[in-house]
C-alpha cells in the first residue's frame, strides 16, 4: 500500500524531472527583467543590475 503510494510519488518525480530537463529548468537564482532599453548596448553603465554594488569580505583589511 505504502509502496504503491511511493511508486506514484516516484512517477511524479520522474515526470517532473523529464519535463524540467526538456524545458531547461535550473535552480540558479536569476532575476528576470523586462524591457531593457536598446541603449544599454551603447551605454552598459546605464543598466542597474540587481547584483551590482557587491562588496565582498576578503578576509583581510
Amino acid at each position: 500500500m505504502l509502496t504503491k503510494l511511493y511508486a506514484m510519488y516516484g512517477a511524479a518525480v520522474l515526470a517532473t524531472l523529464t519535463f524540467g530537463v526538456y524545458r531547461g529548468w535550473s535552480f540558479a537564482s536569476v532575476d528576470e527583467v523586462k524591457n531593457v532599453p536598446q541603449s544599454v548596448r551603447d551605454n552598459p553603465g546605464s543598466y542597474r543590475s540587481a547584483y551590482s554594488g557587491y562588496r565582498r569580505y576578503t578576509g583581510g583589511k
Binding site: 511508486a7 518525480v13 520522474l14 529548468w25 536569476v30 523586462k34
Partner: protein, 443 residues
Amino acid sequence: MSTPAPPSASTPQGGAPPVRTVFCQNCGGSVTIRFVGRTINVVCGSCGSILDAADPNVRVLQGAQNAINQVQPLIPLGTRGKWRGQLYEAIGFQRRSITVEGQEYSWAEYVLFNPYRGYRYLTEYDGHWNDATPVTGLPTPQATGAQYLGLTYKHFQTANAVTRFVLGEFPWQVRVGDRAAVKDYVSPPYVLSEEKVDGEVTWTMGEYVLGKDIWKSFHLPGSAPAPIGIYLNQPAPLSASWKELWVAFVMMLMCVGIVFFLDEALAAKEQVLDRTYRYTGPPITGDPSFVTPVFELKGRVSNVEIRTETDASNQWIFINYALINSETGAAYDLGREVSYYSGSDSDGSWSEGSKNDDVLVPSVPAGHYYLRVEPEGDASLGPVRYSIIVSRDIPPFPLFLAAFFALLIPPILIGWRAFSFERKRWAESDHPMVTTSSDDDDD
C-alpha cells in the same frame, strides 16, 4: 432388561444445547450452565466459587473470589455477536498476569463459543485485542524464534502467567492461581503463544484485531477503550515491506539514469560565445561594465550555461551578468563570484574555492542575445584573466541530483519511522533493541 425404552431416549434430533440451572453449594446462588457437556468448570456469578460442571452435584472445586463484585468484563458474558463470519457467544472470562521486574502486568481473556465451530478466544491488554485460536500444526522452535507454516516468528517474552480471576464457563479445568510458562513469538499481526503446564505444551495463534471491530460485532455500548502504547504483535502503521520499497527505489533510480543518458545523448550542448577578458581594476573614469557581441540562441526553449574560467590565484572576481535579448529587451540578471586561494601551512598545502564557475540560466527562448558584463575585484591583488563561454541546452546535473534526493527521502523517512516503532515494541520484550544514543525513554 426386556422392557423397551421409549424412543425419546435415543439420539435427540435437535433443540437448544442443553442448559442446566444448579445451586452453588457455597452461597446458594443459582448458576446456569449454558453448554452442558462442553463446559467443565463453571463459576458462581454471586460468590465466584469454581464449580465442577460435569459433576451431578456440582461440587465446589475452589472457594469464593473476593474480586467477584469488582471485575466487570468489557464483553458481558452471554453476549453474542457475529465474529469472523460466525455467531459466537462470550461464555468465559479470566484475568491472568505476569510479573516482570517486580511489576505486575495483567490482561483479560474471553472464551467465545459456537456449538458447531468450537472455541476461540479474545484477549485484551491496555485496549489491545487479539483473536486467538488453537493451532492446527506444530510450530518448530528455533534458537531465536519459532517457525510455523512458512512464517518465522521472533521470540518476544518468556514469563510465568498466573490466573488471577475467573468468571463464566470453561471447557477445561480452571483455578485461580493456575500457573503456566508462557512464551510469545511475534510476526505482526500474528503472535504464537506456547503455554507449558506439567510438561504438556499448547500452542495458540493470535491475530491483532481492533477494539472497534469487536464493539461493532458484539453490539457493545459506548466505544472501545483507546489502546495504550504499542503491543507486541501490533502491526506497524503504514508499514511497507522493506524489500518492496528498496526495489521500487532502485527501479526509479534506473529510470532517472535512463533520462540522464538520453539527455546526454540528445542535448544540443551548443557553444555560442567564447571570449577572454582581463580585469585590472575599476577604470579611473566611467563604468567597468561592457557588452559582448550579439550571439544567436537557436532551437526550443532551453537552459543557457554561462561558464566563467579564470586564472585567479589568491584572488577573487565578482561578475554581474545580464543576458539580454537584443530584440525584446528581456533580460536575465545574475551575479557570479569566482575565487581561488591556496597555500601551505603546518598541515600541508591547502586550497579553497575554484578558478572556474558555471551557472545554468533557466528556460531561455530562442533569439539574439548579448551579455552585459560588470566585473568587480580587488585590483591590489593583481589582474585576473577570465573567459566567458556561453552554451545552450546543457544536461542539468543539479536537476538529476535533486530527483535522486526526492526519491531517497521517503524510504529513509519510512525506514526511520518503522525503526522507531519496532524499537518501542521490542523495548517491552526480553530482547530490547540496542541503541547507540543514551536515551532511556520509559513509555
